[in-house]
Amino acid sequence: MSLHPTTPAFKENAHRALGDTELQKALGHVQGGFINKRAAAVERLPEFETLRESARDLKDHVLAHLDLYLEHYETQVRAAGGQVHFARTGEEACKTIVDICKAHGAKSVTKGKSMVSEEIGLNDAIEAAGMAAVETDLGEYIIQLRHETPSHIIAPAVHLTKEQVEADFRRVHSHLDAARDLSEPVQLLTEARGVLREKFLAADVGITGANFLVAETGSSIIVTNEGNGDLTQTLPKVHIVIASIEKIVPTLEDASLLMRVLARSATGQDMSVYTTLSTGPRRAGDPDGPEHYHIVLVDNGRSSMLGGEFEDMLRCIRCGACMNHCPIYHAIGGHAYGWVYPGPMGAVLTPALIGVEKGGNLPNASTFCGRCEAVCPVKIPLPNLMRHWREREFERHLTPAVQRFGLGIWGFFARRPSLYRLATSLAMRVLGFVGRDKGRFAKLPLASGWTQFRDMPAPSGETFQSEWRARQKERRS
């Protein structure tokens, strides 16, 4: 679990990632895997844009009335026989969950995929309390074997090649025949299915996240393709749901709206395979299902994002489309971001949750190409929000000194047009003269960040404004 962010070392992380040939090979799969499938799914649904707008409006409505919907949700969960817990911090949430597990004498805990559980370091807390926490989503299972964190919010093992997974399975599943063939993904999947089936049946507690919490009915909704979330929450005697407070939606209709944009944006599916609404524990006469149902509602910094310039980020439904379409993410993968949430959504959310002092690199490492905002199913203005972080940094003098100095000089001249024209026409004449033979510079003082990797085209020599004025004079005479 990544409670200790390496985000301040983002550049070093990125450097390592760019030199990692296995990672670079694996990242190649993001393209066909996500981008083309999403595009095809959107193409097939003419109402998609309308749905995005409605989804944005719905989330805004919920955030503006979050206290009231939470209250109603809480009442409905209790009415269905479930128990509701609130946690101000990740630590508090971990303690609540560990206490529930202990109270039931749990030894083994299965887990469905949950990003908030990664955020709060839940697996570590469970293991520190002497219980086994088993991730059951195939991707999460693989990275748990490797003691890694997810590199993507919906495809946690997207940074790995099948050869790497094979090596891990051979290392960990040492009770199986060493001569078995594991060269194809289907063989790896079959092996994981067998190994995890035992774990599902043996678990005392199942923990899942929630994609949505429905205020109207007190239901938690999980969306999976594998069915692991359902086995996690159906088989053990205790089901604990962990979710952050902004997951609330008012009604079943509202949940349906978000489902329509979620799967398409995430994997290009119209609908994920299993969408399950869970409402309280097993009923009288039910042949299966947990006897106890708990929901742990985590704040961990969300409530202070409400009403401020980062509130839009709380619309996020964790589809991963922003990172799937991000050129930076494509280049370096998710781990380089150094904490739980990578890509553009991570670049906005991380500074909000761990502080801009530690997370400040992320909103700066963007070209503002805008592709993330263009695909976001709830229309979060991600580049704008990243820019707001840069403003916070600038105000607090956290912007690197060299950059601040450079900007200061530029700003000084740019505010003084006559001085600017004089200075720039002189400078460009010099640069143009020096660069005239090659037409470019392979090295330039103060621009090594640029010229280390590419040439700097040389200027023509005269500025446009001075040449324009000269030509206008000619024209008139």
């Binding site: 799969h29 066909g32 649904l45 003419p46 009335h65 206290d67 009231l68 919907y69 209250e71 109603h72 009415a79 269905a80 609130f86 101000r88 195939l138 495809a155 946690p156 093992a157 997207v158 099948k162 997974v165 289907v186 999947l189 299915r193 089936r197 599902f200 049946l201 239901s219 393709n225 069915g227 692991n228 359902d230 086995l231 159906t234 407070i245 008012p250 009604t251 079943l252 209709e253 349906s256 994997t267 599916q269 119209d270 609908m271 395979v273 299993y274 969408t275 609404l277 869970s278 409402t279 309280g280 006469g285 039910d286 042949p287 299966d288 299902g289 704040d299 202070s304 009403g307 401020g308």
Partner: protein, 222 residues
């Protein structure tokens, strides 16, 4: 202050509200009361025949197989045929759903048993509460009639859908569900769209991750 109170007061402080504002309460109350629908795609709409065609197309798109049957009495024979085609033993686990319990399974050469699954069942059959044309999805309600474990543990899952239960969209399902169950939903409402799958290894899509490897849908017309 309790964690709960703290969280609520932080939310309200950030929003600049007290929680007692009549207009806010009215807005929330009205939404919960009237459950307004968002934009509903046209794909699932149309005549009964059009909706059925869409349902079949969409279910097949997600790798489920679909068969239409004249009436419920034809179910056992089709199940026997299907299991034989899958080359698995003619055994079948099911819940107490009266629409399935009364059928002549033995006559089709099937050996059936009833109740939840403990993980050893190869095949299971459930009866859907509804189907959704828009996405080829089936809605199965947990309870004694259709234990939730049957949806996930067996390798082959067969789901029966009565044609009269086919809806265009999820919104229509919710309206019917509220009418059928009242305010308290069944413990789980399972929306199933094709068989289990994963693309977690190199984005290669594979069926049969943790749940069923196959999903066979029987639509009964009578």
């Amino acid at each position: 202050m309790s964690a709960r109170d703290d969280v609520f007061s932080n939310i309200r402080r950030s929003l600049g509200v007290t929680g007692k504002e009549a207009t806010r309460r009215a807005a929330v109350g009205q939404r919960l009361e009237t459950t307004p629908r968002g934009p509903v795609p046209r794909r699932g709409q149309g005549s009964a025949a059009a909706r059925m065609a869409t349902f079949i197309t969409e279910a097949q798109r997600v790798s489920a197989s679909v068969v239409m049957l004249e009436n419920a009495a034809a179910i056992p024979a089709e199940v026997a045929r299907y299991l034989s085609e899958c080359n698995v033993a003619p055994v079948l686990r099911m819940g107490a759903d009266a629409r399935l319990a009364g059928l002549d399974w033995a006559g089709a050469g099937l050996s059936t048993s009833t109740g939840r699954s403990d993980g050893s069942d190869l095949n299971a059959i459930s009866h859907a509460f509804a189907g959704v044309a828009e996405t080829g999805s089936l809605i199965v309600l947990s309870g004694p009639d259709n234990p939730a474990t049957l949806n996930y543990l067996p390798d082959n899952h067969i789901i029966v859908l009565a044609v009269s239960d086919l809806c265009g969209d999820l919104e229509t399902v919710w309206t019917r569900l509220r009418r059928a169950t009242g305010a308290l939903l069944p413990r789980t409402v399972n929306i199933i769209t094709g068989p289990s799958r994963s693309a977690d290894i190199e984005q290669t899509l594979l069926l049969g991750a943790h749940g069923p490897r196959r999903l066979h849908i029987l639509v009964t017309l009578g």
